[in-house]
Symmetry: C2
Subunit: 221 residues, 2 copies
């Protein structure tokens, strides 16, 4: 008792390219960029791909997989600099790119939390960092410690900066007024102020230079 052939669609839809993991992740990144992490939904993602929501589960195990893949994907954009004579400059270049990637995809900060970073793009960048530090003369646990120190600094910076930037656009006045109202409770904070929008970049590089200086002096020569 099946329906008449004439009423059925002959070709379901072959105008769109076939669904792949890459296409899913690409759309996920676009959706996250546009709407933020709270609006990423399997249904919405599927709609953008002109497919059914449950179809996604053929290519991906869970929604969390999509997030993890999207997170690793954005690190594919950070370029590995040419290895130059000054290893410090190489580290700064790599880490500036890392930070820029996180800043231009603010949802990445929220996705990062408490999750091991094992994606190929992240691993490749970490390996590059290891390589630069090794060429600089570090080895073993000392090298691992230095690499983690640098990476942690960068990730923490990007994380906080994303939070501060969102704060600036959405509730800057409220937060500022909150601070003035409680300036007796936070005297030093009120006295010296916060970083303003255009100071973040310089502060980031400056802090990183200080960290590298300290690491170099203690661990090299």
């Amino acid at each position: 008792m099946s329906e008449s052939v004439w009423l059925r669609q002959q070709r379901p839809r072959r105008e769109a390219p076939p669904l792949t993991r890459e296409r899913i992740v690409g759309e996920a990144v676009a959706l996250l960029d546009e709407k933020g992490v709270g609006r990423l939904t399997m249904r919405r993602l599927a709609e953008r791909l002109n497919t059914g929501s449950t179809t996604l589960y053929w290519h991906v195990k869970t929604k969390d997989d999509v997030l993890e893949l999207a997170l690793d994907a954005i690190f594919g954009d950070v370029s590995l600099p040419e290895a130059g004579p000054d290893w410090r400059a190489d580290v700064i270049a790599l880490m500036s790119g890392w930070r820029a990637a996180m800043l231009s995809h603010p949802w990445s900060a929220a996705v990062l939390g408490g999750r091991p970073l094992l994606g190929p793009n992240v691993m490749a960048r970490t390996d590059f960092l290891y390589g630069v530090l090794a060429a600089a003369g570090l080895a073993g646990p000392r090298l691992a410690g230095a690499a983690y120190a640098v990476a942690n600094y960068v990730i923490g910076s990007a994380l906080m900066e994303v939070g501060a930037r969102r704060d600036e656009t959405v509730a800057h006045d409220a937060a500022a007024e909150h601070l003035v109202r409680n300036r007796d409770r936070y005297p030093h904070l009120a006295a010296h102020g916060h970083l303003s929008g255009d100071e973040w970049d310089a502060a980031f590089v400056h802090g990183l230079e200080c960290l590298l200086d300290g690491l170099a002096r203690v661990s090299l020569r």
Copy 2:
């Protein structure tokens, strides 16, 4: 047509202390510690407090508020050290406590992402940090930059360490095998290894010392 009086409960339940924001946040922290961030639910939280789930909304605007309050609450445990003669030691003591708080509440890392830190406990600790750095001779944007550098380093370290620790307990073998299998793709990573469980503490303090060294040399005197 209301029900007979005799069938109704006379006293709803006055054995429990009255519901307050503090009690809600306290139970939320306990629930988060036990079950993790994915299992925190308004209904589950209410059940633990012997109340209806919708009652919570009288004391709290959204679930996100609960998370933000819980996050700030755990920073109430980090103690402000006595201001001693060595400002570096003070910073290290404060930041070690900060890190310890995050490590003993692993969900905090996931909650932190991309959110401005404006709670009173966090602000008080930040103010204390500002105070220590001011006493050390820093001021203005230089001080703010240094404070952010230190705080970002600590937060990033705790974040990564939580991820690595979870990785260690849940998928250590798989991750290790994954690395050996691709050791040609990540040669430096495979050559120098990762930090092992008991090296994290020392690496954290060492990196922080390096950072403080660099900051002191560049910005002081």
